[in-house]
C-alpha cells in the first residue's frame, strides 16, 4: 500500500497508519503510551515516509505492544531483544527505516546489554524508549529506572537502588541523537521523533510516560490528573534549565535543580555502522 498522502486530522491519520481492527489500544485510562504512538505517527507523516519502507520492532511489555497497532511490517520479539532483531533487519536491508518501541524494563533492564552495544555500533535506527519507572505489564516490579524510595511490588518498602539515566548512557556511548520528552505536550516530541527518524545513526528518544496503574497509584499519584501533573511539575526544558542556571536567582535555581531535563540533549553527525560497513566492503572488493 502506498501511503504518500498527507493526512490532516486524527481521523485521517488513523485511517492511513493504524490497523483498525487492533483498536482501541489495550492501554489503561490515562496511560501515556497511546500518546507515544500518536506522536510517532504524526512524525512519520511530517516526514512523508513511505510506510512500506519502515519496519517497527519491539520487545515485551506494555510499550512493546505499540508496533502491533501500526499498519506496517513489524516484529514483536522476545523480552529485551528488540535491538538485536532490529540490527539484523538493518544489516540485511540497510534501505529500510527501523523504528524500535521498547520500555525501560525491556530496553534498559532486560535488554540493557543490547542497548549498550547497539548504541556503541551506531546502528542506523530510531529507538523510542518509553520510561514509566516500572515493569507495567508483568505486574509492577521495580525497574532499573524506578526512583529511590519508589514503591513497587518488588520494593514494597521503597526502592534503595540508584536509578539509571538512560540518556546519559546514550550520551556516554556517543549516540548522535539523544532526546528526552514528556508526553504532556505534543509538538516538541513530534518534531524530535521526526529528527530522530531522519538522523543517520543511532537516535535515542526517551519518552517519560505516566503509568497510572502500576506506578502512579502506588506512589501517591492516584488518578490520571495527578500523575500527568507530576510530569509537568518535575521536568524542565533544557534551554530553560541552562538559562536559569546562568542568569536566574538562587531561589529559581534551587527550584529547578532536582528536575528532569527534557529536550534535545545531543544532535550531531557520526558515521553509522552501515556507512562504515559499506566502505569496508568497497575497500576489500577484489
Amino acid at each position: 500500500m502506498s501511503t504518500l498522502l498527507k493526512p490532516k486530522t486524527a481521523a485521517e491519520l488513523r485511517d492511513v497508519y493504524l490497523r483498525q481492527e487492533m483498536m482501541p489500544t489495550i492501554f489503561c485510562d490515562g496511560c501515556g503510551l497511546g500518546n507515544v504512538l500518536n506522536y510517532t505517527l504524526w512524525a512519520l507523516d511530517e516526514l512523508q515516509v513511505d510506510l512500506d519502507q519502515v519496519v517497527f520492532v519491539s520487545g515485551i511489555g506494555c510499550s512493546s505492544r505499540l508496533s502491533g497497532y501500526v499498519n506496517a511490517d513489524g516484529m514483536h520479539t522476545t523480552h529485551g531483544r528488540a535491538l538485536s532483531f532490529a540490527s539484523g533487519i538493518k544489516a540485511a536491508n540497510p534501505n529500510l527505516k527501523v523504528i524500535v518501541f521498547t520500555g525501560d524494563g525491556d530496553g534498559a533492564g532486560i535488554g540493557g546489554n543490547h542497548l549498550l552495544h547497539t548504541i556503541r555500533r551506531n546502528m542506523d535506527m530510531t529507538v523510542i524508549l518509553v520510561n514509566n519507572y516500572i515493569y507495567g505489564m508483568t505486574g509492577g516490579q521495580s525497574a532499573p529506572t524506578t526512583p529511590i524510595g519508589g514503591l513497587s511490588t518488588t520494593t514494597p518498602y521503597g526502592n534503595v537502588e540508584y536509578p539509571m539515566d538512560i540518556c546519559a548512557l546514550a550520551l556516554a556511548l556517543e549516540a548522535p541523537y539523544v532526546a528526552r520528552w514528556t508526553v504532556n505536550q505534543p509538538y516538541p516530541p513530534i518534531k524530535s521523533i521526526a529528527q530522530g527518524i531522519a538522523k543517520r545513526g543511532f537516535a535515542l528518544i526517551e519518552m517519560l510516560v505516566p503509568c497510572p496503574t502500576a506506578y502512579g497509584g502506588r506512589n501517591g499519584l492516584k488518578g490520571v490528573e495527578a500523575i500527568w501533573q507530576w510530569y509537568r511539575e518535575n521536568t524542565v526544558l533544557l534551554d530553560d534549565f541552562e538559562h536559569i542556571m546562568e542568569f536566574g536567582t538562587l531561589e529559581e535555581q534551587e527550584e529547578i535543580k532536582h528536575k528532569l531535563k527534557v529536550g534535545v540533549l545531543r544532535d550531531t553527525e557520526r558515521e553509522s555502522f552501515e556507512e562504515r560497513w559499506a566502505k569496508l566492503v568497497e575497500q576489500v572488493k577484489l
Partner: protein, 78 residues
C-alpha cells in the same frame, strides 16, 4: 463572521480517560452524563464559542478518538 469548530468523538475508541478535558486550554469541553456504547462517559464540546480550534485535544488523545473540524462560517448576531 467567526470561525467555529466542532469536535467529533469516535465512540468506538474513546476510553473516557478525560485527558482532552483536563488539558483543553479554554475549558471548552465537558464530560457527558450519558454513557457511550462502551459504557463510559465521553467528552463533548460544551462551549462552542470558547473552542479556538487549537487541536490540543486531538493531538493529546492517546486513542485517536477526537477530531476537531472547522464548521461552516456563520454570521454571529449582535
Amino acid at each position: 463572521m467567526e470561525q467555529t469548530y466542532n469536535i467529533l468523538i469516535d465512540e468506538r475508541w474513546c476510553k473516557g480517560c478525560k485527558l482532552c478535558y483536563i488539558h483543553c486550554p479554554t475549558q471548552a469541553l465537558r464530560i457527558a452524563e450519558r454513557f457511550s456504547p462502551r459504557g463510559i462517559h465521553p467528552p463533548e464540546l460544551a462551549l462552542v464559542a470558547r473552542c479556538n480550534g487549537c487541536r490540543l485535544c486531538e493531538l493529546l488523545c492517546p486513542d485517536f478518538a477526537i477530531t476537531v473540524t472547522e464548521e461552516e462560517e456563520v454570521a454571529l448576531h449582535g
